[in-house]
């Protein structure tokens, strides 16, 4: 019996699902290895089905989404969050720091219709998550590694080293040392392939915090490079702003004087 798989979407941009849809031939191979039962964008609709593996894209940001994720958890053997939204609340968790009620009222003529939870939150704050794939967006390589490992019946290896290691394995030249760019690689989780330094720019931490992230030292370095406190706070308060290590460091600099 082939394992059954579902891909569910919550508050997100669809970019992580594209790791499936952009997989090319691997998508066809995958469809031969597993039974996809729910994946709306690819044309499979059975939201309520019990599955062996459920992939979750997107953050939890409405009462309806909370109900859905609870149901999905019950129906799923192994639950994998894919991407920054699902694993850390995503860019849209920026709203967690503001008074959204006011925002929404100021925006929509009929605010009652727009039901929002107070915040945009990661799936793991509501239900048990068996595996987190970080990244905004995740890529096909991560997905293939995870699916293959699960098919072998083992947990995928966690990739949580710093981006710097991948950067140096590719023999990229450090953009912080040669150009003074405020690169977040030293506190950011690997997995993307160090693509920002490879195009000559600073990493902006879209893969979230690495293991042992020395965010305080990183922040002081950014200060040394000439960033004012407001911009240091923004470096941490970005794609993975709700991830604890980044959230806490950002707080240290918000409202601080240069």
């Amino acid at each position: 019996m082939k394992p059954t798989v579902a891909v569910h979407k919550f508050s997100s941009c669809d970019g992580c699902q594209l790791a499936f849809l952009n997989a090319g031939e691997a998508l066809v191979t995958l469809a031969g290895l597993v039974d996809i039962v729910h994946f709306a964008e690819a044309g499979y609709l059975d939201e309520e089905a019990r599955v062996d593996i459920a992939f979750i894209e997107g953050s939890i940001s409405t009462p309806h989404e909370l109900e859905r994720i609870e149901k999905i958890r019950k129906n799923s053997g192994f639950l994998v969050t894919i991407g920054a939204c699902a694993t850390s609340g995503g860019l849209q968790a920026l709203r967690n720091m503001h008074d959204k009620d006011q925002w929404v009222e100021g925006i929509y003529a009929l605010p009652d219709y727009i039901e929002l939870l107070k915040d945009s939150r990661p799936v793991s704050e509501f239900v048990k998550v068996d595996l987190e794939l970080w990244g905004c967006p995740i890529n096909t390589r991560q997905l293939v590694m995870a699916v293959r490992a699960l098919l072998f019946g083992v947990l995928p290896l966690e990739e949580h080293d710093k981006v710097c290691l991948a950067c140096k394995r590719q023999q990229q030249v450090c953009v912080m040392v040669t150009k003074g760019e405020p690169c977040m690689g030293p506190v950011t989780r690997t997995g993307c392939g160090a693509i920002c330094p490879s195009v000559g720019r600073d990493c902006y931490a879209c893969y979230g915090p690495s293991e042992l992230p020395n965010t305080a030292a990183m922040a002081r370095r950014l200060q040394g490079l000439g960033l004012p406190p407001e911009q240091i706070a923004k470096r941490f308060s970005f794609i993975n702003n709700h991830a604890e290590a980044f959230r806490e460091e950002a707080k240290n600099w918000q409202g601080a004087k240069s």
Partner: protein
């Protein structure tokens, strides 16, 4: 005969569209009494997040509005902000932006034709099912999509949320060898693109004659996609900064996405009246700018026997295929002339001001408006994506085409046709809800 039948059709989750939306249809006494494309994606309030952010963060933020057309967001934003900063990126950047955009059209169009739309016309639930019977066609689609992604990666580092873009141009210039390899790939793919147009023409595209207004960018010298004036099939011809005088967004109660209407007489900003639906996207573009397509693309289209402008919305599929053919030719042209540059971007100096950017996303015009302060921080942003512009048109089309089909048809037939109509627009629901308007009339 069953004119008094009560039909309630509810499609809770639309398959094969980007993002999640639903269709609600009520028919009473042979009339459609309720028809809603409901979009319930939670809003992600992006325009609000932009406030206070630095200009150099904007391209990385707006990319996240949509995983399928991040380039469009990055391009519209870059143009708007560069216009405020009075920066002129120059011909190299302009050429590479066109190439970059070709990658996105190719990837997005190929994905829509093969993975999302074709199963409709061939009677499958998914492309993967379809692959069993049409393996070559599906593989061709995946190859074209893959090539689009590779173009995006070459300039952007990755195809979803590319990292290579900055205000003023690109972070890096690819090596000449890399571009030569890409050129060879594009040349090899050209026959596939030509064949694709003919193949799409063989699909059983429903006949459905409708009257609608097309809106697209037009450029004097080229098939427009990254700059131009806004023109319409009923004679509008305005600069992009005039957009808000002719188009207005409003909040329809059944949707978290804003809808947009067109006001041909102008003054949309203070008009009390309702405007009218309009179409953006591939069919609107081909309808308006057919003559600017390269001769080879025109000839190839003409061979299908379909003439443009077309009043059949289902010819969108054909327009999309023709645009694939077009972007391959365009990419080949840009790559043939490629020279690496020492200056892949112009340095910019922040200034305060108001600026506009409008480019053709795969699904149609994507309009941005920014106010910046003198440190180059965003004060206010307004983003109007194509799907919200099309939404009123989709609902209008649904009404018309279901009536054309005959409301006495079986529920299942009505539902399928309704979905087919929606999918034909390649709606990007994720995009549609990622914006919010800051100023709302509350009468």
């Amino acid at each position: 005969m069953n004119g008094s039948r009560e039909i309630d059709i509810h499609v809770p989750v639309l398959a094969r569209v980007e993002g999640e939306g639903a269709l609600d249809l009520k028919i009473r006494d042979g009339h459609i009494t309720q028809l809603q494309l409901r979009i319930f994606e939670p809003p992600r309030l992006f325009e609000k997040f932009l406030e206070g952010r630095d200009y150099h963060e904007v391209t990385d933020i707006v990319a996240r509005i949509c995983g399928i057309c991040p380039v469009a967001y990055q391009m519209s934003a870059s143009h708007a902000i560069e216009s405020i900063f009075q920066a002129q990126p120059g011909p190299w950047v302009r050429a590479m932006r066109r190439l970059f955009y070709c990658g996105e059209w190719l990837e997005s169009h190929a994905l829509h034709i093969h993975l999302l739309a074709a199963p409709d016309f061939l009677g499958f639930n998914s492309a993967i099912e379809m692959a069993a019977q049409y393996p070559e066609e599906v593989k061709r689609g995946l190859r074209l999509q893959g090539l689009g992604n590779r173009i995006l990666r070459t300039l952007g580092g990755r195809s979803v949320h590319p990292v290579g873009v900055r205000i003023g141009g690109f972070y890096h210039a690819p090596a000449a060898e890399t571009m030569a390899a890409l050129l060879a790939e594009c040349r090899a793919a050209l026959p596939e693109a030509e064949a694709l147009v003919q193949w799409v023409a063989t699909l059983q595209l429903p006949e459905d004659d409708q009257d609608f207004v097309s809106v697209a960018l037009r450029h004097p010298d080229e098939y427009a996609f990254n700059e131009g004036r806004l023109v319409s099939s009923d004679g509008l011809d305005i600069a992009i900064d005039q957009y808000q005088h002719y188009f207005r967004e409003f909040h329809a109660p059944h949707s978290t996405a804003l809808h947009a209407h067109y006001y041909p007489q102008g003054d949309a900003l203070d008009s009390q009246a309702e405007g009218q639906p309009y179409l953006v996207g591939p069919l609107a573009r081909v309808n308006l700018n057919f003559a600017q397509l390269p001769q080879a693309v025109q000839d190839n289209l003409n061979r299908t026997g379909v003439t443009f402008p077309s009043r059949n919305m289902f010819h969108s599929a054909l327009a999309r295929a023709a645009e694939i053919h077009y972007v391959l030719l365009e990419a080949i042209g840009q790559l043939e002339n490629y020279q690496p540059s020492d200056a892949p971007y112009v340095a910019v100096t922040p200034r305060a001001g108001l600026g506009f950017g409008c480019t053709e996303a795969p699904r149609g015009i994507l309009w941005h408006r920014y106010e910046m302060d003198e440190q180059g921080r965003v004060c206010r942003a307004i983003i109007t994506p194509p799907t919200s512009q099309n939404q009123a048109r989709i609902e209008e089309d649904l009404r018309l085409s279901l009536e054309n089909l005959g409301l006495d048809q079986h529920d299942e037939v009505l539902r399928l046709h309704g979905e087919k109509v929606i999918r034909n627009y390649d709606p990007c629901i994720s995009c549609a809800t990622h914006f919010l308007k800051l100023k709302v009339d509350r009468e």
